[in-house]
């Protein structure tokens, strides 16, 4: 299987921006993850082939950057910032609230494949701490009550089979690749 036509088109649109083909590697990984939620060994091969790069060059980049998931994640990826400003403002409570509700530890995915919970470093939302990132979207100024509402809402969206949960800005700003 090869990279999807959508991904190829997006990469070709960017090609003129850079003097080297390798510069397209990180965009390619982002595009694949957007489609498949994680970077599989298969995807690594496809990207390496498409960009004429040795497999190792792709693999070493995938493993360097924390945003690239190396195993499948749930439909909703909850990423709780636990760095200093969020910690001072109650991120540990948010984390244990989610852990209790979903019955999983940090780094795990629920058995039904709906949620993955991760702990992340500073999201640059310190002024509105504590913050969590749900797939692409930020939710800021949370407390346990607001978080519970958010999780209820996410449950509803999942039950309704909504696509692209937590990706509001895709529709908001449609310009670009």
């Amino acid at each position: 299987m090869a990279l999807s036509e959508t991904i190829k088109n997006r990469l070709e649109k960017m090609r003129h921006q850079f003097p080297t083909e390798q510069a397209l590697l990180i965009p390619a990984l982002h595009f694949v993850q957007e489609e498949k939620k994680f970077i599989s060994g298969e995807s690594i091969k496809e990207i390496a082939e498409y960009l004429h790069l040795p497999l190792a060059k792709v693999r070493e980049v995938v493993t360097f950057y924390t945003m690239f998931n190396q195993k499948p994640v749930g439909k909703v990826h909850l990423q709780v910032c636990t760095n200093v400003s969020c910690w001072l403002n109650g991120s540990p409570e948010l984390l244990s609230c989610i852990e209790k509700r979903l019955g999983i530890d940090c780094g795990e995915t629920t058995k039904d494949g709906r949620y993955t919970l991760s702990e992340v470093e500073c999201l640059a939302a310190c002024g509105t701490a504590p913050a969590i990132q749900v797939n692409e979207d930020y939710y800021e100024g949370l407390n346990v009550e607001r978080l519970t509402k958010l999780l209820d809402d996410l449950d509803t969206q999942l039950a309704a089979g909504k696509k692209d949960i937590g990706c509001a800005s895709r529709e908001e700003f449609k310009i670009g690749v």
Binding site: D105, I175, G176
Partner: protein, 442 residues
């Protein structure tokens, strides 16, 4: 109260849109620069303004631009550092979402000054929405003739592309950023050669922070002297302070560099809930922390350095009396342990050992000798590595012990954390450091 350089109009509706920016004479500075000034005149003006880099290092911007080779036939690149990863820093996000055209106009002016025709904005990967807003703003600028070929009827051409990072703190370091931009691991490079000689794709490159670029149109419009007069003798302009933590009104504030920490805290409504102040981290996580007694220091680069800390990225974290400094230092050191790129042994091993040592003390298993080990470990890290990351790790490590030694000793003597918590942090990182192997033989 001095004039506002960057945030003057950000409270207006849709302040990020180009029509709003144009309404306030936006893109007039870039047009004037391209049509009436020489590149050297632009660099001179920025030098005279005393603008210093707002990313963390505080390097004079005009001087950085003047390092770019003048008579080279090589392609040159301009790069905007929008990685904003320093914990406690969130000001660039405000510029990107509220006043992106100031940054774009600053980049146009810089590109003319250094002779670059391509610019990249390296934005952190988590900023999905911000990256899309930036693409939107760039497309607006292009549609209005401010980016593209033959700008303002001159020979100068310039375009900007957005490049998304993927969650590595180290990519805020400029040479790590350049490697990342080339599609590689974000590992910092040995210097020299500096980016002005060998930068992006092996070509001369200039990297500046979002806020630095956003200040440039004002300097051109209002004049270098006015900008310089706002600041201190060696550092011009205002600064964006991101104030967070235990503060009554957290947020981004544009204020003079001459403000003291005490004045800044009061400006933001004081410590939250009227509690007593314990500590302040004045310039992002890497800046050595200060205690409540130190807060009359002014926030400019030189004053903070004299006080043993640094102005860094302008992220001010306010910490009240209820916080256990040892536990907070653990949080910070776990961050550095996680983010060390691993190239240099001192940093890779040192940040790990420090995280373990601090956790051991927090857990009640520390000894007095551990405090000496922390100091010697830090001495073997700072200044010994390819980039300044190792120095950054020692910031919170050394300052927490120096400023709050009694609290560390209390943990050691009582064999527990004296700050009782009603919640227990049970995340992965916390559970993985219960045992402390590898530290005893330091």
């Amino acid at each position: 109260m001095s004039d506002l350089v960057i945030t003057k109009n950000i409270h207006e509706k849709d302040s990020f849109k180009i029509e709003n920016y144009l309404k306030h004479d936006g893109y007039k500075a870039s047009a004037r620069v391209c049509t009436t000034l020489t590149p050297d005149q632009v660099i001179d003006e920025v030098k005279k303004s005393n603008l210093r880099g707002r990313g963390g290092a505080g390097f004079p911007t005009g001087m950085k631009w003047s390092f770019m080779p003048k008579d080279s036939s090589k392609t040159k690149y301009l790069v905007c550092n929008a990685d904003e990863g320093e914990p406690g820093t969130f000001k660039d996000r405000l510029i990107i979402t509220r006043n992106p055209h100031a940054m774009i106009e600053g980049m146009i002016i810089a590109s003319y000054a250094i002779g670059a025709h391509v610019g990249y904005v390296y934005i952190r990967g988590e900023f999905f929405r911000e990256a899309r807003m930036l693409e939107f703003a760039i497309s607006e600028a292009r549609a209005n003739g401010h980016l593209g070929k033959n700008l303002y009827g001159t020979q100068h051409s310039f375009d900007i592309y957005v490049y998304r990072g993927a969650g590595a703190y180290i990519c805020g370091e400029e040479t790590a950023l350049l490697n990342s931009l080339e599609g590689k691991r974000g590992e910092p490079r040995l210097k020299p050669p500096f980016p002005a000689q060998v930068g992006a794709f092996g070509m001369p490159s200039c990297v500046n922070n979002v806020e630095t670029f956003a200040a440039v149109p004002y300097i051109i419009t209002e004049g270098a002297q006015k900008f310089a007069a706002m600041g201190t003798e060696k550092s011009g302009g205002t600064r964006l302070y991101g104030v967070s933590g235990h503060i009554e009104r957290p947020g981004v504030y544009e204020l003079p560099l001459t403000i003291s920490i005490r004045e800044l805290i009061n400006h933001c409504g004081g410590v939250r809930g009227g509690k007593k102040l314990k500590a302040v981290i004045p310039g992002g996580a890497s800046a050595p922390m200060l205690s409540a007694e130190d807060i009359d220091v002014k926030m400019d680069f030189d004053s903070l350095m004299k006080a043993g800390s640094m102005a860094g990225s302008g992220g001010v974290i306010v910490i009240d009396e209820t916080v256990c400094i040892v536990e907070m230092a653990c949080i910070l050191l776990k961050f550095y342990e996680h983010e060390s790129c691993g190239q240099c042994s001192q940093c890779r091993e040192g940040s790990h050992w420090l995280a373990q040592l601090f956790q051991r003390i927090e857990n009640g298993g520390g000894t007095m000798a551990d405090l000496d080990t922390i100091a010697s470990l830090c001495g073997n890290m700072a200044g010994q590595t390819i980039c300044a990351f190792a120095d950054a790790v020692t910031g919170p490590a050394l300052s927490s012990v120096r400023k709050f030694r009694a609290e560390f000793e209390q943990h050691i003597h009582q064999k527990c954390c004296p700050f009782k918590k009603d919640h227990k942090h049970i995340g992965h990182k916390a559970s993985s450091v219960q045992g402390v192997p590898g530290v005893t033989h330091v």
